[in-house]
């Protein structure tokens, strides 16, 4: 077991050593202790695997993984790595297969990840071949535990991780169920290459303090103001969160003007406001719900724009953000059109999210040479607890609570 290399000064959650975003040993420990540790990692949507034999390739941390549906209707996941020499088993992002065969030496696997065939196992004309003692059942890619919750497929390398509903906790479950209460279909997929550590993106997602400061679009059109009715849920582990709010014209108060904040620019109006014209689809009046699951999953409802996001580390200073936009299978054409238009709000070119792609890079570049220094995460106090207000970094502190729990355990 490697020693913890990052020095956390004290047990509190309000200071984060900048070294966590740059230190290579910390990155290696994250792979072992978080991604291959007691966590559930989002793999894909159940809707991505419509038929028996449908598969998708993805990653848990930096480990390549295949997710596939078998004839029994169950979903299986295993490392995308041949037991023989370690080559990828599946090269495509998705497809439909009877089984898998490694291209290198044609070792084959069934849809459950069992090694079923070794080319020339008995040799050729009595020469060569594997030893008689070689037992295919003893060799195969590592399998993941798989859990499907509300159409989300999660995988874990851990035998000890609690069941998915216990891992998420009742409040997070209820908020996932709120959005994924009926069958969905994928309406688009995009990937953003981010010039920063994966944790900076997850912190950004959990940071309800920045949203209406960095994103002018949000504030000006009353989509999200800190003064709107809403709240923040941080689960007991700290690792999962929900930030939610309700569009409310009465919330256009003076608090932004008083701060002299750039984002309060009342001159800014849309010529074609149809991009914001939504429809009510949830009874609770919540028009924005951002939900995260530790370590790298996000479920988004921004007005009628629904998406799941998967954050993957790609080395210490790069990460990948996979967006999957969804609609419900029973959407009317008009509802689908609204979702498509509202996608202008998020994604790589999103009116309210393009900044999130860049700001992590600003931090990553800013902290060069800052080893030994720390970030301040003290807005709203020092706790990682739920609250009604969102001018707080409570869920960011929650992320570090969960992170330190896994890394130091």
């Amino acid at each position: 077991m490697m020693e913890q290399t990052i020095q956390w000064k004290g047990p509190g959650l309000t200071r984060v050593p900048f070294a966590v975003y740059t230190d290579n040993q910390a990155a290696a420990q994250e792979q072992e202790r978080i991604y291959r540790g007691e966590t559930w990692n989002y793999l894909c949507l159940e809707a991505d695997l419509p038929e028996s034999g449908s598969f998708r390739t993805t990653f848990v941390g930096d480990t390549p993984v295949v997710v596939v549906k078998d004839d029994d209707g169950e979903i299986y996941a295993f490392e995308n790595r041949c037991a023989h020499r370690g080559a990828l088993i599946a090269l495509e992002k998705s497809g439909k297969v009877d089984g898998f065969q490694c291209v290198y030496h044609a070792w084959s696997y069934n849809r459950q990840g069992d090694l079923t065939g070794v080319a020339f196992e008995a040799g050729v004309k009595g020469q060569g071949g594997m030893a008689k003692s070689f037992c295919k059942e003893d060799h195969g890619p590592r399998k993941l535990r798989v859990a499907v919750y509300c159409g989300l497929v999660f995988g874990s390398f851990s035998e000890d991780v609690p069941g998915i509903e216990d891992y998420l906790g009742p409040e997070i479950c209820q908020r996932i169920e709120r959005v994924l209460h009926k069958p969905v279909e994928v309406i688009g997929r995009f990937t953003q290459a981010l010039p920063n550590n994966w944790k900076l993106y997850m912190e950004n997602v959990k940071d309800s303090y920045h949203a209406s400061l960095l994103h002018l679009f949000f504030t000006t059109f009353e989509l999200n103001r800190l003064s709107q009715k809403g709240g923040l849920i941080v689960d007991e582990s700290g690792g999962h969160h929900v930030s939610y709010s309700m569009t409310d014209p009465d919330a256009a108060d003076e608090s932004y003007k008083q701060q002299g904040i750039r984002s309060d620019d009342s001159k800014y109006r849309l010529k074609d406001p149809s991009v914001l014209a939504g429809f009510k689809e949830y009874d609770d009046g919540i028009t924005l719900q951002i939900l995260s699951v530790f370590p790298g999953f996000v479920l988004q409802q921004i007005q009628n724009c629904l998406a799941v996001r998967q954050v993957l580390p790609k080395g210490q200073e790069r990460s990948e953000l996979n967006w999957t936009y969804i609609g419900y299978t029973d959407d009317t054409p008009e509802q689908r059109k609204v979702r498509l238009k509202q996608q202008n709000l998020v994604g790589p070119a999103g009116f309210i999210s393009m900044e999130d792609g860049a700001v992590g890079g600003f931090v990553q570049r800013g902290i060069a040479g800052a080893q030994g220094l720390e970030a301040i995460i003290e807005m709203g106090g020092d706790q990682a607890a739920s609250s009604e207000g969102r001018a707080t970094e409570a869920s960011v502190r929650g992320f570090w609570k969960a992170y330190r729990h896994h890394m130091c355990a």
Partner: protein, 154 residues
């Protein structure tokens, strides 16, 4: 008939508007009711309708430029479009359908240049009041990955 030369001249002028940072001119290359969408080959192949940018009016394109100028935060950068010769699928007096390959390099404020996007425009041109305009342009990127963000249009 709308000819190849007219399409080439149109594209040269379109690319110049973006690359010379005269972004306010960009919406005027489209009809008032138009489609402009940026997607990638995988979504196209699967028939998935989403776009990184999804607009169905010229006003939405104008809003996008206004947002870039007044609201969005991104590091200063510019593009260089290299457009291929349009592959004309059909052409009449008042309408033409063509595909044009593009390569867009991004030049950052730091001076660094990188290939930002390659792909193909799927276009429907119309003659509107004696002027050639785009009724539809779908920029289908070859890569599914966008580096950092896409602020400027393709």
């Amino acid at each position: 008939m709308i000819d190849l030369l007219a399409l080439c001249a149109f594209n040269a002028s379109y690319a110049n508007a973006i690359d010379s940072e005269a972004l306010e001119q960009w919406p005027a290359f489209f009809t008032e009711a138009c489609t402009y969408r940026i997607t990638n080959v995988e979504n196209e192949k699967e028939g998935l309708p989403s776009g990184i940018v999804y607009a169905d009016s010229r006003a939405m394109l104008e809003d996008r430029i206004a947002a870039l100028r007044e609201a969005n935060i991104y590091e200063r950068h510019r593009y260089r479009h290299l457009l291929g010769i349009p592959l004309v699928e059909s052409a009449r007096d008042d309408q033409a359908v063509a595909r044009t390959p593009f390569l867009v390099a991004r030049i950052m404020a730091t001076g660094e240049t990188m290939v930002f996007a390659t792909g193909e425009y799927h276009d429907r041109f119309v003659m509107d009041g004696g002027k050639l305009l785009l009724a539809e342009r779908v920029a289908v990127c070859d890569s599914t990955v966008t580096d950092t963000l896409m602020a400027l249009p393709l």
